[in-house]
Amino acid sequence: MAIYLAKRLLGACIVLWAVITITFGLMHAIPGGPFTQEKKLPPAVMATVEARYHLDEPLWNQYVDYVRHAAVLDLGPSYKYPGKTVNDIIAETLPVSAELGLISLFLAIGAGVLAGMAAAWYKNTWVDYGMMIGATLGVSVPSFIFAAVLIQLFAFTWPVLPAALWKGPAYVILPALALAAQPTAFIMRLTRSSLVDALGQDYIRTARSRGIGPWSLLYRHALRNALLPVVSYIGPLAAALMTGSFIVETIFAIPGLGRHFVTSIYNRDYTVILGITIFYSFLIMMMNLLVDLIYPLLDPRITVDSRKEE
């Protein structure tokens, strides 16, 4: 197990290095730089600023320098927010995004799995069709429309919830719903299809022949077999939700990490772009590792360490 984990972490480091290299290259391939503005800076000022952040050095030197710092978890200073490092930015905004993201995640898993179970059990009835229409809407309606509708309904038509900002529990509800809609729909569809498959298996017929009741059939016998694809989807989804969504955070004016994904790029804030990309990649890899560790708990035929196979 320890060897397996060490291997996976080593692999993650290699992937991170590749991510840094590719992002670094792409980033510098876009025209402009952090200090390019509509009103051109006097050349002397530009030179001083660039020298301060070592942007005048050859690209190769900048790259080596960055990797060396990144290796000790120093993601460098932001060019756009003077006096703040990328580490600061992540530390300040991640908790907000992670809170919103985790709430949305649990909402999506809970609602998605339950609705999927209902749709699978009442396959080809109006329950199923209703759920599937809902799921298709959930998958295809973009979150900004969903967010706008929620704000209109619950902040203006019936003013029960705040329309924006981030000041307490009530402020979480609307953005969490907007963020959870799409993953809920997706999880519902996944759960339904793999549960329908599981319910058609021989062991379900065996269980029925022994008088096992419907709830036990669905929950104990079919669901565990059906959850593997859902769990694989939840891994990367968790990483994506926890790092925030540009759209939802912008609409609800939430001071989260999500908006930095987009703003840092048009600011050419090199260190923030790299820092957030690295962080996101790392999170995805950790979530996938977690998923791989959960698999054997769901299905005893899967072992993490293939050499331990009997």
Partner: protein, 331 residues
């Protein structure tokens, strides 16, 4: 003695994309307490559908009971609700299936699956359940039963899994056990062992067994009475002696002629030419006439009548009627 199970004129159709498909047509089967009844026939003849129909395990929505009734100790099962059926399943009647590799839930331990059934009908503590489960595994001949309880199905061989399935089916001492091709997926040595276990458990529990197989050898070895099915109908029924020594229906005769006989090495094995009819294009008359060496005009036109060949020995064929007519003609 009152019959335990009486299936009367049962017809079952399936809704498929190609239309309605009649899988079982006018089948009547009787099982008395404690006896072993065999159902033989080739693949797709409706053996499994019949047995699953009795336990109402056929996919709801897709399967439709067209005619007939299923009397369990005199009470018709067809009007019963799913939850009423659940009260009978496992306790009154149980089933073991053809493929032990897929019939056990891969993510639950053997113990968990066994105890689940035990807990349904008996008030037992967790420890009592475990003890009882281990006893059951021992009874079906599994070595180190305690260890097996904590193992998952993929850690056991096919024969061991089938024994587990038998133990599970018998856990609540049912009055009737359907064994649907219980040894088809097993090798010959394991087959013999599993059949021995079945015989032993039947003697211990005094239950009736309906053994479904396409293997005449297995049927001959186990059953007192036999039903021969062809294309969704029962073509002949009788005691094992009737079927094997005095077959009346041309299909049964054909089946026996295609069996090798170790004592007669000169015997030429003859197959039955042709194929079973497509269930979508069932012949109007006798379902066997296209392959029957003795087919006549009458066979093509109408369903054959049920004839008696001896006490308890019946078959559905036009031959007897034709012979009677010929007999009349000579007078």
């Amino acid at each position: 003695m009152n019959p335990l199970l009486e299936v009367r004129h049962l017809s079952i159709s399936f809704h498929t994309y190609r239309g309605l498909l009649e899988a079982v047509h006018d089948v009547s089967i009787t099982v008395h307490p404690g006896e072993t009844v065999g159902i033989v026939g080739e693949s797709g003849c409706g053996k499994s559908v019949t047995s699953q129909a009795v336990m109402k395990l056929l996919p709801q929505g897709a399967a439709e009971y067209r005619t007939g009734e299923i009397l369990w100790e005199g009470r018709d099962l067809l009007p019963l609700s799913e939850s009423e059926m659940n009260g009978l399943r496992g306790r009154d009647m149980a089933m073991i299936f053809q493929d032990p590799m897929t019939s056990l839930n891969p993510v639950l331990t053997i113990g968990a699956q066994l105890c689940e059934g035990l807990a349904l009908y008996q008030k037992l503590s967790k420890q009592e359940q475990r003890t009882r489960a281990a006893e059951l595994l021992k009874a079906v001949g599994l070595t180190s039963p305690e260890k097996r309880l904590d193992q998952y199905p993929h850690q056991l061989s096919g024969g061991m899994r089938q024994r587990c399935l038998i133990a599970m089916a018998l856990s609540c001492s049912p009055k009737l056990l359907f064994a649907d091709e219980p040894t088809t997926a097993l090798d010959v040595t394991t087959e013999a062992q599993v059949l021995d276990v079945l015989k032993k458990m039947q003697a211990e529990l005094g239950m009736a067994v309906v053994l479904i197989s396409h293997n005449l050898g297995v049927i001959a070895q186990m059953c007192r009475r036999i039903y021969v099915m062809y294309a969704g109908t029962v073509v002949e029924e009788g005691t094992a002696e009737d079927i094997f020594y005095r077959p009346a229906h041309p299909y049964t005769k054909g089946l026996l002629a295609s069996l090798p006989d170790p004592s007669d090495r000169e015997k030429v094995l003859t197959g039955i030419p042709g194929q079973a009819p497509d269930l979508f294009h069932m012949p109007k008359g006798c379902r066997f006439y296209r392959r029957c060496p003795q087919a006549m005009k009458a066979c093509m036109e109408a369903e054959p009548p049920r004839e008696e060949a001896g006490p308890g020995h019946h078959y559905t064929c036009w031959l007897a009627a034709a012979e009677r007519r010929r007999g009349d003609g000579t007078h």
